[in-house]
């Protein structure tokens, strides 16, 4: 199936989602290029999380196209199918498997056959252990590998979840408010971590924290009432009159 329509990795065109008459997304169009890191900002209710829901298959759009890698129509796939294509998602609230060890959390996330039969007959392999080791190293949780994930601190859970996304080896990573509730030091480390990840993956970050977005130093898209209000560098966007208006109120 080679019907590539766009060079973008993620391509949204005219996407509309309504909940009981409320338009969470209103004719939203957005393109993310391969290898890019994009920050998405916007006031509460701008449609940031709904956009992620549409991309990951949690919400079906009423109208519009969502294409991944130019040829996969994401509106036709379910969450598992979309994850299999290589789209990873980090939730706003850190969501890990609390009763599993740190190591098992990563193991469950490792890119692998996800079908029932495959997990029933799965055997531990040295190659997988090496991959787990590498990821634990990246997210700085190696000393805690045997720990039950439920006992980690908030920031550690955020990293573990990011580690799980890395283990998935996605082409595109959607990260929802990664630094919410983090200390300044943790926030700085998270910026580094995301930049490191961006070396071989495309990343879309949704964030409220302007200082953090500034530190990321990437192209910014500002959403408002379900569509794009402004796009550009952080300086361009933050000096845009309409953006200022929306953020500060008129």
């Amino acid at each position: 199936m080679d019907t590539r329509t766009t060079s973008s990795l993620l391509y949204l065109n005219g996407v509309t989602v309504s909940f009981d008459g409320f338009r969470a997304l209103n004719n939203l169009s957005l393109a993310v290029e391969p290898g890019e890191m994009r920050a998405i900002i916007g006031p509460n209710g701008a449609g940031k999380t709904t956009m992620m829901d549409v991309v990951t298959g949690k919400t079906r759009p009423d109208d519009g196209d969502v294409f991944f890698d130019g040829s996969f129509d994401l509106t036709r796939l379910d969450e598992a199918g979309i994850a299999d294509l290589g789209i990873g998602r980090k939730f706003q609230k850190p969501t890990v498997f609390e009763m599993h060890t740190v190591e098992d959390n990563i193991l469950l996330a490792l890119k692998n056959d996800r079908r029932v039969r495959a997990t029933l007959t799965w055997r531990e392999s040295a190659e997988e252990m090496r991959r787990i080791d590498r990821i634990l190293e990246t997210i700085r949780l190696t000393p805690l590998r045997e720990r039950i994930a439920g006992g980690l601190s908030h920031g550690q859970k955020q990293w573990l979840e990011i580690g799980m996304l890395l283990a998935q080896e996605p082409k595109l990573l959607l990260v929802d408010e990664p630094v919410a509730g983090m200390t300044d030091a943790e926030t700085r480390q998270t910026v580094e971590l995301l930049k490191e990840i961006n070396r071989d993956r495309t990343v879309v970050v949704v964030e409220h924290d302007m200082a953090f977005v500034r530190d990321l130093d990437v192209k910014v898209t500002c959403l408002h009432e379900g569509s794009v209000l402004a796009e550009g560098t952080i300086d361009q966007v933050s000096t845009n009159e309409r953006v200022v208006e929306v953020y500060l109120g008129r």
Binding site: T56, D78, E79, A80, A83, D84, G88, R89, F91, T95, V96, F97, E98, M99, H100, D104, L107, L108, A109, R114, R115, V116, T119, L120, T121, W122, R123, R147, I148, G150, G151, M164, Q168
Partner: protein, 384 residues
């Protein structure tokens, strides 16, 4: 490779459990058949069948623990699968009666003659063959669970909603089986069995054999459950229990996992029912009563969900309590005791007996290792 995994799946507790179950399987028949009735260690035959009943309940509890304890699916209708397995076995036993029935009809069971049925309904065909009946014992509950689960899990029905529709399922089946024209003996059910595979079901030898077979079935089911929960599949189940959305966005088709384990669990419940019927000598629609299914969930909660051995222990303890309390002076209060037990366990012992003991052990080990204390289980979500 299978043997390797089998051995790895059994920890010390599992071995102790298996040795105990198989030990009982050998000891009880020995004490019944070989010791003279005058001996203080002699086990009377009525107790053999009573214990056999407990073991069948334990198997039912194990099947519930597999889905509830490890995948968070609270079925309040598992008694339906148990009863269906029981009916399949009952149908075989009915066909074995032959001309020894009251009406001495060579083919039709008594209740059909009584209701003036001209011939055997098609769905009774084949049940005179034991292997076919055995197949149905597993297949009927399995297929029902598969179809039911396929719709429920695909539509993402979870939590209390799922519990309620499982309850409705068993209630609907109960109403159906109560009807005479359903062809399963109406409210009398199936009874007056004569023999199984040519052995008299009343004979001590047969009853002891049934008891031992029930124990072996319990041991096998336990091994299967252990192999499941120690595999990566089992880790995915627990992941689904604790963070279903995370599992979904990692690419696991949650519904397939639930469907597989739910169907397997229903098959186990069916086997439990099939072993139960020849030992108690009757199967009737009251086995579908929603209260039975709820009681089975209580056994698991008392013993400790998500522990397997706890489910077995809970089933045996609660039923032993039931036997004690429903005879004699305390008989009118049994339901209060049962209700009180559930409330008490939920409030005071949310991990159940075995769960609490395991938690103590882990805490002590963690303290010895200088770790932070083991975190409390994420707020128990009994409705899922």
């Amino acid at each position: 490779m299978i043997t390797g995994h089998l051995l790895r799946s059994l920890d010390r507790g599992a071995w102790i459990f298996l040795i105990l179950v198989l030990g009982v399987a050998a000891a009880v028949p020995f004490l019944n058949l070989l010791l003279p009735p005058s001996s203080p260690y002699h086990v009377p035959i009525y107790l053999v069948s009573l214990f056999g009943k407990y073991v069948c309940y334990a198997l039912l509890a194990l099947s519930i623990d597999l889905i509830w304890g490890y995948c968070g699916i609270l079925s309040l209708g598992h008694g339906a699968f148990f009863a269906l397995g029981g009916y399949a076995m009952g149908m075989y036993l009915m066909r074995q009666i032959g001309t020894r029935g009251v009406y001495a009809h060579p083919i039709l069971p008594d209740f059909m003659v009584f209701l003036n049925w001209p011939e055997l309904p098609v769905y009774w065909y084949g049940f005179q063959h034991f292997p076919y009946a055995l197949l149905m014992v597993v297949l009927v509950p399995g297929v029902l669970a598969f179809v039911f689960g396929w719709f429920a899990f695909r539509s993402r029905v979870t939590g209390v909603y799922l519990s309620i529709i499982t309850q409705a399922l068993t209630f609907a089946l109960m109403l159906g089986f109560f009807r005479n024209n359903f062809g399963f003996g109406g409210n009398n059910g199936l009874t007056d069995f004569k023999d199984i595979l040519g052995f008299n079901v009343q004979a001590p030898g047969t009853r002891n054999a049934l008891f031992a077979i029930s124990c072996i079935a319990l041991a096998l089911a336990f091994i299967i459950c252990r192999m499941i929960i120690t595999s990566k599949f089992g880790k995915v189940l627990v992941a689904i229990r604790d963070a279903e959305n995370r599992a979904r966005f990692l690419g696991y088709r949650v519904e397939s996992y639930k469907l597989f384990v739910f169907t397997l669990s229903a098959c186990m419940a069916g086997v439990a029912g099939a072993l139960y019927v020849p030992q108690v000598g009757i199967i009737n629609p009251s086995e579908f009563a929603p209260a039975n299914s709820i009681e089975a969930v209580i056994w698991v909660a008392v013993g400790g969900r998500g522990t397997l051995t706890g489910a077995v222990l809970g089933a045996i303890l609660v039923n032993y309590g039931k036997t004690t309390f429903t005879t004699g002076l305390l008989a009118p209060y049994w339901l209060f005791v049962l209700g009180g037990l559930f409330v008490a366990v939920t409030l005071l012992l949310p991990r159940g007996i075995v769960g609490t003991i395991q938690h103590w052990r882990e805490e002590r080990r963690a303290r010895a290792a200088g770790d932070k204390p083991v975190p409390a289980e994420p707020a128990p979500r009994p409705a899922e």
